[in-house]
Symmetry: C2
């Protein structure tokens, strides 16, 4: 004889089936969200870890456009890990920063630190001492557009923890 | 007396419940995917529809950085609807294009058309006749970085359908 079920049995079984199905849907969504996040970060390649002495913490650089004798502007994609930042420095022909992801800081000497988020842009005037980098808890991705026609970047002192957190 | 169900009833009801639950999960995922797509497009604002005579089809411009006497480089975010493109033109100090979304074209006079995708970058030399725009079926979003120190953009003829599709 076929086994029979009451309405209560049926309700319990249905709830279990719904919970299992929703749970597997959620897993799929979470996985998709992670892929989106990675995809998002990788509009431009992350590039290689910066090994020179001009940064504090870990940062990565992918040059997208190198300056040449005709086009004297370079574009680099810079990814800062949380807490990472440049040293104080200046550009003889100035620089433009375009933020594509994360949360970071930008500060010119003698001015207040600015918080930068995805979609923000900054114009740094020529020969103006400044630094930029990630916030303490969040990575920071920015395009750096640098005029090279008046000479190379001048690197100065490290940004101390006190300066960074002020 | 409580209604009773056979195993077959139970199987049919379970399948219906699973189908409904999966379907609602899918709707949620699709909605999320649309939001991601919009989020993606909006790293930088879309800006206003371009109303001058230098484009064919619909394109939108958000200036991010205007040139000034100290920083003579401008940055604009340009969004082309499918089929939209610039006229032939040239920049006295050259231009850099960075593709943030979609699929588009770039062509210098006398050379083959290049297909551009998210993450691609192009260096257009000074005084080089060229055009850029979306592919016929896909929108195209690009940052245009333009040196202004040697004069303004020179606009030329429209890109004919024959040239566009070649």
């Amino acid at each position: 004889m076929a086994k029979i079920y009451s309405r209560t049995d049926l309700a319990i079984i249905s709830i279990v089936v719904i919970m299992i199905t929703i749970s597997s849907c959620r897993d799929a969504e979470e996985q998709k969200s992670n892929v989106d996040a990675i995809h998002q970060k990788l509009i431009f390649a992350k590039g290689e870890k910066i090994t020179n002495n001009n940064f504090t913490g870990n940062a990565y650089l992918q040059m997208l456009i190198n300056a040449d004798s005709l086009n004297q502007t370079s574009v680099g994609n810079v990814t800062f890990e949380p807490g990472a930042r440049t040293k104080w420095h200046l550009h003889p022909a100035g620089q433009i920063l375009l933020v594509t992801d994360g949360v970071g800081y930008y500060q010119e000497k003698g001015k207040l630190k600015k918080i930068l988020r995805k979609g923000d842009s900054v114009k740094c005037p020529p020969n103006t001492e400044h630094w930029h980098g990630a916030s303490p808890d969040t990575f920071f991705v920015q395009l750096a557009i640098t005029g090279r026609e008046k000479g190379e970047t001048v690197w100065l002192n490290a940004v101390s923890d006190e300066e960074y957190l002020k």
